[in-house]
């Protein structure tokens, strides 16, 4: 039997293969030879064969039949065998394999071997891929080796211990004694791995964390020595002494200093020193600075140090090295909530990064830019973001558009500006806009009553230019359907009114119906728009004709609509005006961030549906109800939905279960700390623009106590919303007289069916102890039938660590609040 081909010969041979098929053939041939060699239990060449098998495994070929051979190699006395055996084990014998456990005994023996390199192999293998059972069995051996004076073994044992702890956290305790003097080591390998071990233990156990806090001075000293010591060739990297160790120490300091005043103070000086003295010309220095910044931001550092950290990040932003700019943007994104003002100072640099050529940087810059938008800089920022939207890659457009919509909604300085911004997005990135933006935009437009003429005119003009971008087309169709009368009457105030006739408008809408560019959803929109114009235009015959044609459309959706509209003309013509009248203003309780929107193909799942409390249209007769159901309910719902959507999801759903027959509004999630509830665009009724909510108080209504239990008092104060006397504006004030804060405080309310309720965002969700402050929240109640106001409230909060929940009825409303 000739000796099996050598490893490197095989590699050379396989590399000469010119095709995949040729390679496969060679491999199969060799595998066959190896297999028979294994069968013959050949000890001499086992090592060579397994090595070859590992090579073929790397090329992607199966090698499982070599698993047992690896075990035999590990058990061999020869070092060469063990080396390859352990390598094979790490590649082929992970814990998912049945025979994995068979290694345990060999590893145990090798951990006690007389040769440190054999011990090293065992430690390495165990530390890389030992299963939980194996770790349990061998933890004792590892712990022994952790106490050895042999630094070669000690460093490996430390990382092995880290792996054991990761796999079997309960075993952490047993390594505690061995950590006693780990940091007094001189050997950097041991020091580094010890810091890693300590870090792991502190992360996993608050007790360990408190126990190891006393090491802070020692860690500070080690770090200081590294910085101050002169050139040490063994650990030097571009003039910096052991940057790996420095970074790990900084990380451990971060964990130890977090939330602890004394520790944070003890490390203040060294952090300042590292931050100011580290050489920044090379990546290695910046790596240390980066870690330092992360530590400063996480611990309880003094404000001077924090400012220093943010400024370092600011300087990173100007660095030529892309990696450093990227890292800076990522870190700034993390700190923008807590140190908002400091980050704002670097806004112009951040905005410049939008123009960076690198894709990763652009994305980070975009996210950060959105986080920095506020009421003061909205105009300037939006200019930059719109420019970015124009020129960015398609991958970014959807996110950017959503972000712009959100920012515009929050901070629009005027309605006109808002509409213009939306138009700009729709016309430049209209096809990338998320599907659910359409209902959101429609709702926005409805609520800006005085801008209707302007909006419909602009949208009409946009349609004349381009009908390929579906979201734009859908919004435009809807608007023309609603406000077509304003369009033809030329009433626009904001800009030069255009002259357009009813026929021209209908031409455009019919054009959408027939165009190949229109999706079925869009066609639905335009058909409904045409139908609505039957009550606004005088060209009834033309509309009737269009509607009847589509009664035989192949598209089932379109057909259904057309048939129903036809029925409206024929049998229910007396109801048509009422059904197709102008949409009333829609309520919306929560603003939607881009991350919460759900992308669905064509179907839209609008947030408006979440509240399910669109104002009830006056119902003349029950037949009208049936018809409405057929039409899919309210027209604001994207018409493609033929079933009335049932809505689980929001908090409103759960409350529904508890409170039975009452119609209700759930408590919205409090907006992030940076936004102030009062300054959000107020819910507009009757077309009031940007008026503060609590302007005119018709009559002074006495406040009342709605709830008083367990130290929590909730008071209601009242105002009337002018000029709509049907709306009562209630402000709740929640105070807490107990000695502990009430956190995660959520107030929810439900009212009887004839009422409508809107809850705005609360001022915060912590009710401080000892009446030190209060949580306020605004409720608007619409009471068109002037019925006696009743309310059921639900309170949830956490008090002294336990969750508390309570329901209560509020019936003692003063008569003036609802009369």
């Amino acid at each position: 039997m000739p000796a099996p081909i050598r490893l490197r010969e095989l590699i050379r041979t396989i590399r000469t293969a010119r095709t995949q098929a040729e390679e496969r053939e060679m491999i199969q041939k060799e595998c066959a030879a190896i297999r028979s060699s294994f069968r013959e239990e050949d000890n001499t060449y086992r090592c060579r064969n397994v090595a070859k098998l590992l090579y073929m495994h790397m090329l992607g070929y199966p090698a499982h039949f070599g698993q047992l051979e690896c075990l035999k190699l590990i058990a061999s006395q020869k070092f060469t065998d063990k080396r390859i055996g352990y390598l094979g084990a790490m590649l082929l014998l992970d814990e998912r394999q049945d025979v994995h456990l068979l290694m345990t005994n060999c590893i145990k023996n090798d951990l006690n071997h007389s040769t440190q390199y054999v011990q090293g192999l065992a430690l390495c293998t165990l530390g890389c891929m030992g299963s939980s059972e194996m770790c349990r069995d061998l933890a004792g051996e590892v712990e022994k080796l952790l106490k050895t004076s042999n630094s070669y073994l000690r460093k490996k044992a430390a990382l092995c211990a880290v792996h054991v702890i990761r796999k079997v956290p309960e075993l952490m305790e047993m390594f505690l004694p061995a950590t006693k003097n780990l940091l007094s080591e001189k050997n950097h390998g041991v020091l580094h791995t010890s810091v890693v071990l300590l870090t792991e233990m502190c992360e996993r156990s608050p007790d360990m964390l408190s126990h190891f806090r006393k090491l802070v001075p020692q860690l500070v000293r080690i770090l200081k020595n590294l910085i101050m010591s002169g050139y040490s060739p063994e650990h030097d990297v571009s003039g910096i002494s052991d940057p790996f160790l420095q970074v790990r120490i900084l990380r451990l300091l971060r964990i130890l200093g977090k939330g602890d005043d004394d520790s944070s103070e003890a490390m203040n000086d060294i952090l300042a020193q590292v931050a100011t003295n580290t050489e920044t010309s090379k990546n290695v220095g910046n790596a240390i600075l980066y870690e330092t910044v992360l530590t400063i931001m996480d611990i309880k550092s003094e404000s001077g140090l924090r400012v220093l950290a943010i400024n370092i990040l600011g300087r990173f932003l100007l660095n030529n090295d892309k990696n450093i700019r990227y890292v800076a943007l990522t870190s700034l994104l993390k700190t923008v909530q807590t140190d908002h003002n400091a980050v704002q100072r670097h806004r112009s640099t951040i905005v410049d990064c939008l123009k960076d050529l690198d894709v990763s940087i652009k994305r980070r810059a975009m996210e950060l830019s959105f986080a920095l938008v506020n009421g003061n800089n909205i105009r300037g920022m939006m200019k930059e973001l719109l420019y970015f939207l124009d020129s960015c890659d398609p991958d970014f457009k959807a996110d950017c558009a959503s972000g712009i919509f959100l920012a515009a909604e929050k901070y629009a300085p005027s309605k006109r500006w808002h509409i213009d911004t939306i138009m700009r997005v729709l016309t430049t990135a209209g096809s990338y806009v998320r599907d659910d933006s359409v209902p959101n935009l429609i709702q926005l437009i409805t609520n800006s009553v005085e801008m209707h003429a302007y909006t419909v005119q602009r949208l009409y003009k946009a349609l004349l230019d381009d009908i390929s971008q579906q979201p734009l087309v859908q919004v435009a169709s809807w608007c023309i359907g609603e406000y077509g009368d304003l369009l033809v009457s030329g009433q626009c105030e904001e800009e030069e009114p255009i002259q357009v006739s009813e026929d021209e408008v209908l031409d455009v809408l019919e054009g959408l119906l027939v165009s190949n560019l229109s999706t079925p959803v869009t066609r639905g929109y335009s058909l409904t728009a045409i139908m609505k114009l039957s009550t606004r235009f005088s060209s009834l015959n033309r509309i009737k004709k269009v509607v009847s044609i589509y009664g035989s459309s192949i598209d089932v959706e379109l057909q259904q609509r057309a048939v129903e509209y036809n029925a409206l003309f024929k049998k229910y013509d007396h109801m048509r005006p009422a059904l197709l009248e102008r949409m009333p203003i829609m309520e919306k309780t929560a603003t939607n961030g881009p991350s919460e929107t759900v992308q669905t193909n064509g179907e839209t799942d609008s947030t408006i549906l979440d509240t399910k409390h669109l104002p009830s249209i006056s119902q003349p007769a029950s037949q009208a109800n049936d018809l409405l159901d057929l039409l899919g309910g309210n027209d604001v719902v994207p018409i493609i939905q033929t079933t009335v959507p049932t809505k689980p999801a929001s908090a409103g759903g759960e409350l529904l279960d508890l409170l039975g027959d009452l119609s209700l509004t759930g408590g919205p999630t409090p907006t992030p700390a940076s936004s102030v509830p009062m300054s959000q665009p107020p819910f507009l009724l009757d077309g009031l623009t940007s008026q503060p909510l609590f302007n005119d108080i018709a009559a002074v209504i006495p406040p009342m106590t709605a709830y008083n239990k367990n130290g929590l008092i909730i008071e209601f104060t009242f105002e009337r919303s002018n000029p709509n006397p049907n709306i009562a504006v209630i402000t709740i004030h929640a105070t807490n007289s107990t000695e502990a804060d009430m956190t995660e405080f959520v107030f929810q309310a439900a009212v009887p069916k004839t009422f409508q309720l809107q809850l705005l965002s609360p001022s915060s969700n912590v009710v401080p102890a000892f009446n030190q402050g209060s949580v306020t929240q605004v409720i608007r109640v619409l009471n068109p039938q002037k019925q006696q106001l009743r309310m059921r409230i639900k309170l949830t909060y956490t008090h002294k660590g336990s969750p508390v929940q309570d329901l209560a009825e509020v019936n003692n409303f003063p008569p003036q609040s609802w009369q």
Partner: protein
């Protein structure tokens, strides 16, 4: 940025891959247990993403829940997948250190050295990193360990045998 109890590791390397510009794998080190299928998929996806990056790009990218840090040295890409909490800049230094160790061992290391001596590349890696963490920060120490371990090899001729490429 802390790891929770429950095995979540926030500061850890998940894998280290070496591959050529043509997409051939030269070394794979995995620090978590995954099925062969999953590994192959990750390799495919990561390679695809990294190989299309223009030359002067940022060396970091976000992929699923991981940060990918990569750097090209001649014809080889050195690439690792990190958890969210990791410091990307020091990881670049880590990759560089590994290349230096290879270079120190092989003398002017090139891709062919890694191809024909892949097992040695693994041995060197195992003296530098265990379980995704650095175990030794001194180049000299690693070199010495390799030298001494090599001297224990019983079949030196086989081990050192280098056929002409």
């Amino acid at each position: 940025m802390r790891g929770g109890a429950g095995g979540i590791q926030l500061f850890s390397m998940r894998f280290l891959l070496l591959f050529s510009r043509q997409g051939k794998l030269r070394l794979q080190k995995w620090f978590t247990a995954l099925s062969d299928r999953d590994k192959k998929k990750i390799i495919r996806d990561v390679m695809q993403m990294v190989l299309v990056r223009p030359p002067k790009s940022c060396n970091f990218l976000q992929w699923r829940d991981l940060k990918i840090v990569y750097r090209r040295y001649a014809s080889l890409y050195f690439c690792c997948g990190l958890e969210q909490g990791d410091n990307e800049l020091i990881t670049l230094e880590l990759l560089h250190r590994y290349v230096e160790l290879l270079d120190q061992y092989f003398g002017n290391v090139c891709e062919l050295d890694i191809i024909f001596n892949f097992e040695k590349a693994y041995f060197i890696l195992d003296e530098f990193i265990i379980g995704g963490e650095v175990q030794e920060t001194s180049k000299a120490s690693v070199a010495k360990s390799m030298e001494e371990a090599d001297s224990l090899q019983e079949t030196m001729e086989e081990y050192l045998n280098k056929p002409t490429y």
